[in-house]
Subunit: 243 residues, 2 copies
DNA sequence: ACAAAAGTGTTACACTTACACCCATGT
DNA sequence: ACATGGGTGTAAGTGTAACACTTTTGT
């Protein structure tokens, strides 16, 4: 009685057994870049619910598992590689996001490089790339998760370098500009973009050149990332807030 | 069999009943500002586990409830008001964050104004304000959630206006500068700060003045927010990236 | 008159933006 | 020689940063 006067409305934080009735899942928005468009990985949803829709890579998280670990495993299985960043997006916990029952989804995103090895693995696992800005209807609230991921990628591009896991080891300035334009959804002036990027010390000029297409006559110079600087700027951030 | 060749390793997304064994909670990091320091609300944790530690406002989320709604209710009960923003931070889902069982926490943050009404209510509910940068040991992973919230607040301050729910209706330029300095953890040049802020059209100059302390002789001018502009800039963002 | 905090302007520099032509190469 | 995309420089304007003194008021 006296206690009640002192410690008023108690916080509702004492769990009873019938509150442990939620399930956990994780989904990963996997971004790629094919030189022209930003892509994400989807598979076809098999069986109900949402049969026929697409779905982003997802997995149950069992009662004893860490969602970050499960997401990492999922990603490794899909791409056949276990490098690359994996960043937490958010938890999605609306009551009816899954018609099967109450499921909370801890969502992640990552960027991976499109190459032969992972392409083969992806096909084997039943995934395919679709343009990140022309995505079909997705199962559950995955469209919402995707929108969230795209916003996060935008913010990321503005504040830290990007591309290390999206571009090939060597790439042209036009390649990386196109990547930035896709991610941010706007176009940049070639000269200004280059000046800004080169000033950042993020790129190393190579002595190699490629032709960007059959029609292009003059080859363009290849650059690679200055990995040390890339890492530094990834940590401390830099401004690409621009136009 | 044929299907297996076509649709390879299936995604683990078929839930069985024994996967619905997780509980849901929500916590809210409540920021306030007393003119000198950024504050957060804590209460004393009653009973095991973490007896004696502090705790940020938290609640169970029952199986049918929406965490956003529960958080809003919690906040209303604590502060006695139901205005003010409430923004989702993230889901915290590490396996052992709660020793009682697997609990996923959907965390939010908000900013509220320190005034008489809410002060009385807070005392009644057993909460108190502590400096956001001198917080004692908190129960569960609440210190981690708090750090996350402080980072988010920083980002928020840099990209959108802040203060509408933290400062009194009328305040001095020194007040708002101090708030920004607390939130961002750095000091600004008075002249540059004022120029920048006044240019943004965010403030309206009043004809009223206050003395900031007994020792201060000259009174300083009071300003109020231009609510329309504040809302506009809250939506579209503006740059306060600075020094 | 003095003490205390409020308030105010200028300058140098760096960055952003806008803009159009020549270059290197393959066909 | 021509067609194609690659590559380059400059000038005007805007924003940032650093800096110190005058003003107003209460005691």
């Amino acid at each position: 009685m006296l206690d009640k006067l002192k410690a008023p409305t108690p916080m509702r934080i004492e769990f009873s057994t019938d509150e442990f009735k939620v399930a956990l899942a994780t989904s990963v928005v996997v971004f790629g870049f094919d030189g022209e468009n930003l892509k994400i990985l989807v598979a076809n949803k098999i069986g109900q619910p949402f049969e026929g829709d697409s779905i982003i890579p997802s997995s149950i998280v069992r009662i004893e598992e860490d969602p970050a670990y499960v997401a990492k495993e999922l990603l490794t299985r899909i791409t056949g590689r276990n490098d690359g960043m994996l960043e937490k997006l958010n938890g999605f916990a609306e009551p009816f996001r899954n018609p099967v029952g109450r499921v909370v989804n801890i969502a992640y995103y990552c960027t991976i490089r499109l190459d032969e090895t992972s392409e083969n693995n992806l096909r084997k696992e039943g995934y395919l790339w679709v343009n990140a800005h022309e995505v079909p209807r997705l199962a559950y609230d995955h469209n919402k998760i995707l929108e969230y991921a795209k916003e996060r990628l935008k913010r990321r591009v503005k504040g830290r370098p990007i591309g290390f896991n999206l571009l090939p080891a060597e790439f042209t300035l036009n390649n990386i500009q196109k990547l930035y334009e896709c991610a941010l959804g706007k176009e940049f002036d070639k000269r200004n973009f280059r000046r800004k990027l080169l000033k950042s010390q993020l790129l190393i000029e190579t002595e190699r050149f490629v032709r960007s297409s059959e029609r292009a006559k003059r080859p363009s110079r290849l650059y690679m990332f200055n990995e040390k600087e890339y890492r530094t700027l990834s940590l401390k951030g830099y401004d690409f807030i621009y136009q």
